[in-house]
Symmetry: C2
Subunit: 221 residues, 2 copies
């Protein structure tokens, strides 16, 4: 892929004005074609005047001037938190049984059914943060921790990343976290995932995506 | 389920202090047991002193005092946007081919591979918003629009909802949206989803979750 990109970067010199309409449909099955589209169309806008316009205890909002390669200019805002992002953990008690939690969620003022998650502390790796959160929130550590995927929530206006971690070979362990009340831990079956995703207590997109990916990984192990 | 909850609400009167430790593991396969846990443990905290502490062009941040049923008190902050939420659309050109877009995303300063999405305008239903966004962003409308699921992004600190919509029986149509530059539309195959989710251009959790759910719905149609 690296060598293909080099070839395409070279080809780019001879290619101008390939856009013929407002809408493009590139077929990703055609890798050469896709590469050419990439080169022409994904030229990042230039950012300037980036400044913090509101900072609270938990949030930091930036505004920035965005100059697109076609000359259009816009002002964007984004959430730009400090830190190294968050982890979300899929803890498997066995190859089918996942441990989930009900946790009070201030944004929706509901108890949401979700996977264990938390911010990565300074100096921690994502896998270390995953194991710490598991021990604090569900009373288990994991002997086997595997990185699955880094996801975003709303990349249009949020800069933060969530690293999805699959936790297997669990062992009992516990530590005091910063939760205001004990979390309710519930077992669910990945073999029932097709029904589980319609549970109205389960709404968090990260959790749904992580469960599907974990199920496929375990199936292929 | 309603009648079961009524029974459980009655049973609750005779049940006190059922928590024996910091951690609970309820088996959701045992519905009676689950109901009892629900009644005891998911007593929503009381919110007070809710106020807007920062308002910008795109964001509104609230703070609130949260008093948990165990006596713990915390101060929370949350993003509380106006409006009726957003839609995210899975547009199927045929039963296997999904139309995705590359769009510049200010939060990550990257071109992200994702599904068409946008805010619901005043007076619009989610399905109407879905069709409008499709026409503006990918040059197709849909004769068949199906509600899939309402998802949250980070319910701990965000109040907004995204309604996932499956769009089928597409027809060509276009309208000018508010995009600063034309979007690049790319085809992907749901039959390749197991590989697609590892594409590093695809990070948005809502999009990944929606693709898995759409694939299962279409399989069962």
């Amino acid at each position: 892929m690296i060598s293909l990109n080099l070839v395409l970067a070279g080809l780019r010199l001879g290619l101008k004005n390939r856009q013929v309409g407002e809408k493009w449909v590139a077929d990703d099955c055609s890798y050469l074609c896709k590469g050419l589209y990439n080169v022409d169309m994904r030229k990042k806008p230039i950012l300037s005047n980036i400044k913090n316009i509101a900072t609270t205890q938990f949030f930091n909002i930036q505004s920035m001037d965005v100059a697109f390669s076609n000359g259009e200019k816009r002002q964007y805002e984004r959430l730009k938190p400090d830190g190294d992002g968050a982890v979300l953990v899929v803890p498997m008690l066995d190859d089918d049984t996942v441990l989930m939690i009900y946790e009070y969620s201030g944004g929706t003022h509901r108890y949401e059914l979700a996977l264990t998650k938390g911010k990565i502390d300074a100096g921690e790796s994502p896998l270390e943060a995953a194991n710490r959160e598991l021990i604090e929130e569900i009373g288990y550590g994991a002997k086997k921790l595997s990185f699955v995927k880094t996801m975003t929530l709303a990349p249009g206006y949020q800069s933060n990343f969530t690293h999805i971690v699959l936790a297997q070979d669990l062992y009992e362990d516990s530590a005091q976290g910063d939760e205001p009340e004990p979390l309710e831990v519930v077992k669910h079956k990945l073999s029932d995932l097709e029904e589980l995703v319609y549970n109205q207590d389960l709404t968090e997109a990260r959790t749904i995506a992580a469960l599907y990916m974990a199920k496929e990984i375990i199936k292929n192990q």
